[in-house]
């Protein structure tokens, strides 16, 4: 769902579930940070 969110809005229920999950799951917090970092890397790559 973290990856899915980067490509478009999640349905409300899923977005809420994801937010709740990210409150306690350290591993997923890291994955989210790293997925967003990948996006930044590609932005730099474009330039």
């Amino acid at each position: 769902m973290i990856s899915r969110k980067l490509d478009g809005p999640l349905p409300f229920g899923r977005a809420l579930l994801l937010r709740l999950h990210l409150m306690w799951c350290l591993a997923c917090q890291r994955f989210e940070k790293q997925a967003k970092f990948l996006h930044e890397v590609m932005r730099k790559y474009r330039k």
């Binding site: 990856s3 899915r4 980067l6 490509d7 478009g8 350290l26 591993a27 997923c28 890291r30 994955f31 940070k33 790293q34 997925a35 970092f37 990948l38 996006h39 930044e40 890397v41 590609m42 730099k44 790559y45 474009r46």
Partner: protein, 192 residues
């Protein structure tokens, strides 16, 4: 901007355009053709270049369409099976245990933003991109470099949005693992 100035700028950006095209198309000859078509189209349309965007941005926009055309001609209807075949979801399922928890959670990358300023990092990133299966790389580049919307990609490749999300997930998981292995887990280049 005069035509000679534009032509000089075109040549300056040729290598960048070729790199993008090659990552997308995985075919040096086809990439060269696409870049050539892009530059020809740009020369023909030079009078319409308003200068509101940079030349590089403008050329990338033309290249995007040429790449999409090339993909469309290369595979008249990209088979979903081929997209599935080259990415084995089981490989990523192995990262999670039976309760859905990470078996090998992502390592802490610290503050990775500093890596963006390192040329060596971008070279590692490019190698990781080259290791992606061709169709996965194509979709990822269409989304992240060409900045096509999800709907546009689905339409061009005749795939569903669910397919797209799965492919993007696989690409991100592969790239994340590759960067962790080849940069962030390797000191002293890692974040410290």
């Amino acid at each position: 901007m005069s035509t000679p100035d534009l032509t000089a700028q075109f040549e300056a950006h040729r290598r960048y355009l070729f790199r993008i095209a090659r990552l997308q198309l995985r075919d040096d000859d086809l990439a060269e053709d696409v870049v050539q078509d892009t530059l020809v189209a740009a020369l023909q349309g030079a009078a319409r270049f308003s200068g509101k965007s940079s030349v590089k941005t403008w050329l990338t926009g033309i290249l995007k369409h040429k790449i999409v055309d090339a993909i469309r001609h290369k595979t008249s209807r990209p088979a979903l099976a081929s997209l599935n075949d080259e990415c084995h979801i089981d490989d990523f399922d192995a990262l999670f245990d039976e309760t859905g928890q990470w078996d090998n959670p992502p390592a802490d990358w610290g503050s990775p933003d500093a890596a963006l300023e390192r040329r060596e990092f971008l070279e590692v990133m490019e190698k990781c991109l080259e290791q992606l299966p061709p169709n996965t790389a194509r979709v990822f580049m269409m989304r992240e470099v060409m900045e096509l919307e999800s709907g546009e990609i689905c339409k061009e490749l005749a795939i569903t949005s669910t397919n797209l999300w799965v492919i993007m997930y696989r690409a991100r998981m592969s790239l994340r693992a590759c960067l962790e292995q080849n940069w962030f887990a390797t000191s002293p280049r890692g974040p410290s």
